[in-house]
């Protein structure tokens, strides 16, 4: 049964140095506030897993929390590069970053295998590309019935998954809707899970398109209104597109980045919409 605790308690209880951590949310419902708490708690040597590392992991990487990144598309959506990610890969700043890269279909199936308790999943993918030679966990596999060659990808089993949802009830059952991404698979694949929510309600009345994760699947729930910003929570708040653009300048410069993290993460000075510090 999920316990409802503060975000600081939830992260302290579940995210430890050296863990493999998956923070998911596909454009929608990205758990940014939980990411900031990981930075505040100065976690180190994390293996970060995420299909689209995005601004959330640019921040964790720049803050020195990660030693490895497992991903399938590392950009600032609609804007350009992730400068902290590139600085870590290209210059080892602030610490060297090992990478393991896949395609979206491959990553989605790696989570799926983890969720299903299987050591691998199969797909039609990667064939003919230069990816298998450069990444772990991809292998050919032969169909025992047709002889056809397909691709096997190794399961991802994070130590901990962190997601953001619209709401939970007082028992810790979690409900989210809109673009639901790969969060269910990430939670099911992980050993333990933390969910931040916009609000706790008495009853989760059914919603079209909603996924409900039962309380017994989750370790801790924490209330973090607006905790997806600059991502969004459908029917609660909108995507702060201007912030994504502003991040380009903030993250280009190591000092500007460090100042931003100090102010808005460590000192928790709220960000105005659009990210102007």
């Amino acid at each position: 049964m999920a316990e409802i605790v503060s975000l600081a308690e939830a992260i302290a209880a579940n995210v430890h140095d050296g863990d493999t951590l998956a923070m998911e949310g596909f454009t929608h419902l990205i758990p940014h506030e939980a990411g900031h708490e990981v930075i505040r708690q100065r976690r180190r040597d994390l293996t970060l897993v995420r299909m689209t590392p995005d601004v959330i992991y640019d921040q964790l990487i720049g803050a020195g929390c990660a030693r490895k990144l497992i991903f399938s598309w590392a950009g600032n959506p609609g804007v350009g590069s992730l400068h902290r990610f590139r600085d870590a890969v290209e210059n080892g700043w602030p610490v060297p970053l090992e990478i393991e890269e896949h395609s979206h279909a491959g990553m989605a199936n790696r989570y799926l295998a983890g969720a299903a308790g299987l050591p691998f999943a199969i797909l039609r993918g990667y064939r003919g590309t230069d990816l298998p030679a450069r990444t772990a966990g991809v292998a050919d596999i032969t169909c025992p019935f047709t002889g056809e060659t397909l691709t096997a990808v190794a399961a991802i089993r994070p130590d901990v998954a962190v997601i953001h949802a619209q709401r939970a009830d007082r028992l810790g059952n979690v409900q989210y809707w809109g673009i639901t991404g790969v969060q269910k698979e990430a939670v099911l694949a992980a050993s333990r899970s933390v969910v931040t929510v916009e609000e706790v309600v008495d009853e989760l009345e059914p919603r079209p398109g909603a996924v409900v994760l039962p309380s017994w699947l989750i370790a801790h729930v924490a209330v973090a209104p607006g905790g997806a910003h600059p991502s969004y929570a459908q029917d609660y708040c909108s995507r702060d597109n201007a912030f994504y653009v502003a991040w380009d300048a903030i993250s280009r410069d190591r000092a500007a980045f460090a100042a931003w993290i100090d102010k808005h993460v460590h000192d928790k000075v709220p960000m105005p919409a659009g990210g102007q510090a």
């Binding site: 929608h28 992730l82 395609s103 979206h104 003919g128």
Partner: protein, 267 residues
Amino acid sequence: MTYTSDEMMTVTAARVLRDGMTCFVGIGLPSEAANLARATHAPNLVLIYESGTIGAKPGTLPLSIGDGILAQTADSVVSVPEIFNYWLQPGRIDVGFLGAAQLDRFGNINTTVIGGNYADPKVRLPGAGGAPEIAAACREVIVVLRQSRRTFVDQVDFITSVGFGDGPGTRQRLGLTGAGPQRVITDLGVLQPDPATCELVLTGIYPGGIIAEIKERTGWDLRVSADLTEIAPPTDHELEVLRGLLATMPAAQPASEVAQAPQGATR
């Protein structure tokens, strides 16, 4: 009405889409073209985004492949594993739209690294995203990107997504079920694969286009099709609708640069 070469490119891409087709759409130029087609000659075009939105009908151009407007207007929203496994992989999608950082004469695409080597590249790009499997599985692929010697290269530095590999027979050997890149639409014209050699050749130019200039902006010895056609300029209606769509977007996008433009396939 006067128009830019980017507008010519987007309109040309939109015209390729026929009403009722299913189209796996990436953000940026592909999304502009697909939404232009839906707003003009192809009202029943089915837009599918990798965020899991099937049949999205955005009234404005989305800024990301996961905008709320896509979920709100979709016929169905499915999970990310499902969109790849049940919808893309089996070859149900007619057209996949891809961008690229580099493209070679066989239509292979690089969105991973440029220069140096993999471990120590000159430019680290965002990576694969949905592109490898879009390139493999859609019934056909359309690549949209601006043409230059830097982007149109003899051989890509990294094969992120397979076009025709090293020529005829590669796709069959690899078991790639779709027909591959049947059109590359640029700001200078249209390239299509030679049926015999799979090499991309120039099959369409825009009004006023000069073949020598197009060859000059291609990193291989570009051949010109015997059936080269001139593509009609954008109609006033096409331009008005396209500009109307673009006007609904926040003006927040920075100028693109090599490291920014190629966002895998679909962002």
